[in-house]
C-alpha cells in the first residue's frame, strides 16, 4: 500500500477518462433496481454516455487505484475493499491505493454506510470487477504473444505464459487490455485458493492513524476558511424569538452573527451561528450571546413522562408485525406462564469526533467535506435546498471519527452549507461536545412487554410488544400505520419455526424527540428483551439456557454457535458459584452468540471475568477487522448497559458531556475471546451484529450469580 495517501479524486477521474494509458473498468447498473451490474471499460462508458463507476484503474506502472464508494468510520472498508479487489486481480496489496468516492447517487448506487453493508452489499460486484480486469490483462498478453489464452495465468501483478515462462507486467498490458471488451462471464477464485481474502492482513489506514495524518472532518482546512459554532434551541423544536448579539460582535475574532436553521426530519430547528477566525474565538463569543426562544407548540417531556407514556402504549394492540398460530388461546391454557417488562434507555451516539462539516458554497456550485455516512443523500438534499444542479454539488468524505448512524443524517451538512452561502466564504461548523450530545438525534428508548407460555419444558406461545418511537414515522409525509421491521430486528428467526403460537407488535410512541439509527438499530434494544426473556424462560422451564436454545433454534448455524459457546466456555463443567450468561441474536444477516462470566470481588462489587463471542458472518474478508468490530461493539454495548444513558428534563437532554454521559474506560473492559465461524454462507454484517447479545448475556450472568434479574438498562455494576 502506498503510504503517500490516496490519490487526488480529480486526478483519479481524469486518469479514468484518459483511456489509452490505463485500464479502467467499473460497474454500473443498467437498469434501476437491477441486481446485476454490468462491467465496462472507461472508453465504452464514454461512448455510451454512461456515468461509469470508476472503481479500479491500472496505470502504466502497474499501480492499481481504487475509488472506494463507502465511508471509513472505523469499520474497515478502507481495508476490505482493496483486499477483495486485489485478490481477484492477483496483485499484492502494496500495489493498490484507495481513495474515497465523492457522493454521487447515479454513479455509485446507494452509498449509505449503514446496516453493516460495505461487504454485504457489494462483495460480488467487487470480486467480479477485479476478476474482469484480470481476465482482460490475461487476454491482452495472449494476444501480444499470439498464444492461446488458457496457457496464460496471472500472478502477483504479472501475466505468465505457462509453457515458456514468458512474463509481462500489468503496466505493460494496460494499453492493449483497454481496447478489449470485458468478458461477460468471469470465474471467481475458489475460496481455498485465496491469498488475501480471509487473512488477518493489517489495515492500510493504520499508519495514518498513529501519527495524526489521517484527515478527519475536523481537520479539514481551506484557504480563507472561517469557523462557526451555532447556538441552537435547547428544545428540539424551538424557534428564535429574538436575540441580542451586541456583546458578541465586540468579541475578538468574530466576523458574523447570523440566524440559521437546519432540517430535523419533518421539523426545523433554528439557531444563531457565530462565525469567527478560529474555533475557540467562536466558542467564547457564543457565551456572550443572548437568545430568547419560542418553545411553545410542542411537548416538553421528561424521561419519567416518556416511559409512562410507553407503559400506557403497551396496553394498546399496536401494529402487528408477525403473528403465527393463536398466541392468546395457547398462552391462556399454558401450564406455566411467564411475563416480564424490559426497559432500555435513549442514547447519544457520542462519536469521539463531534459532528462537524466544512462547506464552501458559491453562486452556482457547492462543495462540502466532512465525516459523512450518507454522501448521496446529502448531495440530493443540498441540491434541493440550495437550488443548485446536483452535478454541481460535490460531497467529500473524510475519515470519520466514529459514525454509528449519527453521521448518516443530513442536518449538519445543510446547516453548514446555509451558513457558507450566507457569509459567502468557506466555513467549518463545529459542534461542541455539548451540542453533539444534547441535540440528537438519539437512539430511541424502548419498553417491551414479553409473555410466554410453557408446556412440557418447551416454549408453546411467545409474545412481545414494543413501545418506542418509530424512526420511520418522523419523515415528512410518513405513513404512521406502517412499521419498519422494528420489533423483529435482532430476533433469532428459527424461534418462529419451533414456537407455534407467537405475536410481535410495535406500538409507536409519540414524542418530539428526534431519533435515529444507533449502532445495530432496533436490535440494540430488542436483543436485550428477547434474550433476557429466553433466559427467564429457561429458568422457569428448569432447563439449561443453552439446552433450551438448542431445543428451539433448530438451524445448523445456530446449533454450531451453541456448540462452540459450550466448548469455549467449558459450559458443562462450569463451577456452581460462577455466574455465566449467554445470548444469541441475529442482526444484518449475521448471527452472534456471546457468553459472559461474572464474579463478586472481595469488596462485594461485580466484576466481568470473561467475555466470549462467536460471530457467524458467513463469507468474510478480514478476520482481524471482524474481531476488532466485535470487541468494539461489546464495549459500546457495555456502556449502554451499565454506564450511560440520555435523559430528558423539560424537553431537553440532561447529559451534556462525558462527566455525565460516562463512557466505559479501559479498566472496565477485560480482554475478550472472539471466534469466527467458517462456512459458505453469504456475507453478513460485521460492524454491528456483535452489539445486541452483550447486554442480555451480561444480565443473564448476573442473574446466574446473584439471582437478581435486571430488566431495566442502564444499571450500575457497583450497585447490584
Amino acid at each position: 500500500m502506498q503510504q503517500k495517501h490516496s490519490i487526488d479524486r480529480r486526478a483519479f477521474l481524469k486518469l479514468s477518462s484518459f483511456t489509452g494509458a490505463a485500464l479502467t473498468i467499473g460497474f454500473y447498473f443498467p437498469a434501476l433496481g437491477r441486481e446485476t451490474a454490468a462491467i465496462v471499460t472507461a472508453s465504452t462508458a464514454e461512448n455510451l454516455g454512461i456515468a461509469l463507476n470508476a472503481f479500479i484503474s491500472i496505470d502504466k506502472n502497474g499501480s492499481v487505484s481504487i475509488l472506494n464508494h463507502r465511508s471509513e468510520m472505523g469499520q474497515g472498508s478502507y481495508q476490505a475493499v482493496p483486499q477483495m479487489i486485489a485478490e481477484e486481480l492477483e496483485v499484492s496489496l502494496d500495489q493498490v491505493s484507495i481513495s474515497f468516492a465523492p457522493g454521487h447517487q447515479n454513479k455509485y448506487g446507494n452509498q449509505i454506510t449503514g446496516g453493516s453493508s460495505t461487504v454485504r452489499g457489494a462483495w460480488k460486484h467487487l470480486l467480479r470487477t477485479g476478476a474482469t480486469a484480470r481476465e482482460m490483462l490475461i487476454e491482452a498478453a495472449a494476444k501480444i504473444w499470439s498464444v492461446p489464452k488458457d496457457e496464460c495465468y496471472a500472478q502477483n501483478g504479472e501475466v505468465i505464459h505457462r509453457p515458456s515462462n514468458k512474463k509481462l507486467g500489468y503496466g505493460e498490458l494496460v494499453e492493449e487490455a483497454s481496447k478489449l471488451t470485458p468478458p461477460k462471464q468471469v470465474v471467481l477464485k475458489e475460496r481455498k485458493k485465496y491469498n488475501l481474502i480471509g487473512k488477518p492482513l493489517p489495515r492500510q489506514d493504520t499508519p495514518l492513524k498513529v501519527n495524526g495524518r489521517a484527515e478527519f472532518g475536523m481537520d479539514k482546512k481551506l484557504p480563507g476558511m472561517l469557523y462557526a459554532v451555532v447556538e441552537r434551541s435547547p428544545h428540539f423544536l424551538g424557534k428564535v424569538k429574538s436575540y441580542d448579539d451586541s456583546a458578541v460582535k465586540k468579541m475578538p475574532g468574530v466576523k458574523h452573527v447570523i440566524k440559521v436553521h437546519m432540517p430535523v426530519f419533518n421539523t426545523v430547528r433554528e439557531g444563531i451561528a457565530i462565525v469567527a477566525d478560529n474555533t475557540w474565538a467562536a466558542m467564547q463569543a457564543r457565551k456572550a450571546l443572548k437568545v430568547e426562544w419560542d418553545t411553545t407548540g410542542f411537548e416538553h417531556l421528561d424521561t419519567a413522562a416518556l416511559y409512562n407514556r410507553m407503559k400506557e402504549d403497551l396496553k394498546k394492540p399496536g401494529l402487528s408485525q408477525r403473528t403465527g398460530g393463536n398466541f392468546e388461546a395457547t398462552f391462556a391454557k399454558a401450564s406455566k406462564k411467564v411475563e416480564a417488562v424490559y426497559e432500555t434507555p435513549y442514547e447519544a451516539h457520542a462519536c469521539m469526533e463531534p459532528v462537524n462539516c466544512v462547506a464552501d458554497v458559491k453562486e452556482d456550485r457547492a462543495e462540502i467535506w466532512g465525516p459523512i455516512q450518507g454522501p448521496d443523500w446529502i448531495q440530493r438534499d443540498l441540491a434541493d435546498r440550495l437550488k443548485i444542479p446536483i452535478d454541481k454539488i460535490t460531497v467529500n468524505m473524510t475519515f470519520l471519527g466514529g459514525g454509528f448512524g449519527r453521521k448518516a443524517f443530513t442536518d449538519y451538512t445543510t446547516e453548514a452549507a446555509l451558513i457558507s452561502k450566507e457569509i459567502k466564504a468557506p466555513v467549518q461548523v463545529v459542534w461542541t461536545r455539548e451540542d453533539d450530545m444534547t441535540q440528537g438525534p438519539f437512539r430511541p428508548g424502548a419498553m417491551y412487554e414479553c409473555k410466554a407460555g410453557l408446556n412440557n419444558g418447551r416454549i408453546a406461545a411467545f409474545q412481545t410488544k414494543m413501545a418506542a418511537q418509530n424512526m420511520g414515522h418522523q419523515n415528512p409525509g410518513a405513513d404512521k400505520t406502517s412499521f419498519n421491521d422494528s420489533i423483529t430486528e435482532g430476533l433469532p428467526e428459527p424461534y418462529l419455526n419451533s414456537i407455534d403460537h407467537y405475536s410481535f407488535s410495535d406500538i409507536p410512541t409519540e414524542s418530539p424527540i428526534p431519533v435515529m439509527w444507533w449502532r445495530s438499530v432496533y436490535s440494540s434494544t430488542n436483543g436485550f428483551a428477547y434474550e433476557s426473556f429466553i433466559d427467564e424462560l429457561a429458568v422457569a422451564a428448569e432447563k439449561d439456557p443453552l439446552d433450551l436454545r438448542r431445543a428451539h433454534l433448530r438451524d445448523e448455524r445456530y446449533l454450531a454457535i451453541i456448540d462452540k459457546l459450550e466448548e469455549i466456555t467449558g459450559w458443562k463443567s462450569r463451577g456452581k458459584n460462577s455466574g455465566w450468561g449467554v445470548a444469541i441474536t441475529e442482526c444484518f444477516k449475521s448471527i452472534v452468540g456471546e457468553a459472559v462470566k461474572v464474579s463478586k470481588q472481595a469488596d462485594g462489587k461485580l466484576k466481568i471475568d470473561r467475555i466470549v463471542a462467536v460471530m457467524d458472518c458467513g463469507w468474510y474478508v478480514n478476520p482481524d477487522i471482524i474481531k476488532a468490530q466485535v470487541e468494539g461493539s461489546i464495549v459500546m454495548a457495555l456502556g449502554a448497559a451499565t454506564t450511560h444513558a440520555t435523559n430528558f428534563t423539560d424537553g431537553k437532554a440532561v447529559e451534556t458531556n462525558f462527566h455525565q454521559y460516562r463512557m466505559p474506560r479501559i479498566s472496565d473492559v477485560p480482554d475478550m475471546e472472539i471466534y469466527i465461524m467458517e462456512n459458505e454462507e453469504k456475507p453478513g454484517g460485521v460492524g454491528e451484529p456483535g452489539l445486541p447479545p452483550f447486554a442480555p448475556a451480561l444480565c443473564n450472568a448476573i442473574f446466574d450469580l446473584t439471582g437478581k434479574r435486571i430488566r431495566k438498562l442502564p444499571f450500575n455494576m457497583n450497585e447490584v
Binding site: 478560529n278 469521539m352 469526533e353 462525558f658 463512557m663 479501559i666 477485560p670
Partner: protein, 160 residues
C-alpha cells in the same frame, strides 16, 4: 491578544493569541497541527493529550499563557516516519478503528512508558483511564503497551 513563542516538537513557533486560548486550539487552528484532537473541551476524554516537558497533559484546558518555555510534544513530534516504538506497537496490534482518539491514546501511553517501562495491566488501566475510546479499542491498547514495553528492552529501540 498577546505574542507567544512556543517550543513545539523541537522547533520554535510564534503565535498571536488570546492568553486564555487553550493550547489545543492554538495547535489546531493557528499552527495547523491537527493531529491533536478535540473531544470534550473539559479534560474528560484525553483526545487532546500532548506532552509538556514529557508529561501528558490535556491541551483543551491549558491556556496558552500558562505554557511559557515548557517544551511541547505533539503526536506530529513523536517521529516523522512512524518509527517510534509505541507507534510500531500500535501498528503491530492493529489498535485503531476510527482512529480519532488514538493520537491522544498514544501520547498518554508514551508518557506512561517513560515513567514506568514495565507497566502491569493495572498500571496501564490507571494511566490510560483518562482516554476514552468510543470504538472500544481498550483491549488492544493494553496489548500494544505491553508490546511496546517489550520492544523497548530490545535494542535498537528508538524514540525514548
Amino acid at each position: 491578544m498577546a505574542s507567544y513563542k512556543l517550543s513545539i516538537n523541537g522547533s520554535s513557533f510564534s503565535v498571536e493569541a488570546d492568553p486564555k486560548m487553550p493550547l489545543l486550539w492554538v495547535l489546531r487552528d493557528l499552527l495547523n497541527l491537527t493531529g491533536t484532537k478535540y473531544g470534550c473541551g473539559m479534560s474528560q476524554c484525553g483526545a487532546c493529550t500532548v506532552h509538556l516537558n514529557g508529561n501528558a497533559i490535556r491541551s483543551c484546558t491549558m491556556p496558552v499563557s500558562a505554557v511559557g518555555t515548557q517544551k511541547i510534544t505533539t503526536i506530529e513530534g513523536l517521529s516523522t516516519d512512524n518509527s517510534h516504538t509505541v507507534q510500531q506497537a500500535w501498528i503491530a496490534e492493529q489498535v485503531p478503528q476510527c482512529g480519532y482518539c488514538q493520537t491522544g491514546q498514544i501520547m498518554s501511553a508514551v508518557a506512561l512508558l517513560k515513567r514506568n517501562p514495565n507497566p502491569t495491566d493495572r498500571d496501564i488501566d490507571m494511566a490510560m483511564q483518562g482516554n476514552i475510546c468510543r470504538c472500544g479499542t481498550y483491549p488492544r491498547i493494553r496489548k500494544a503497551i505491553h508490546k511496546a514495553a517489550a520492544m523497548m528492552k530490545q535494542p535498537p529501540a528508538k524514540g525514548f
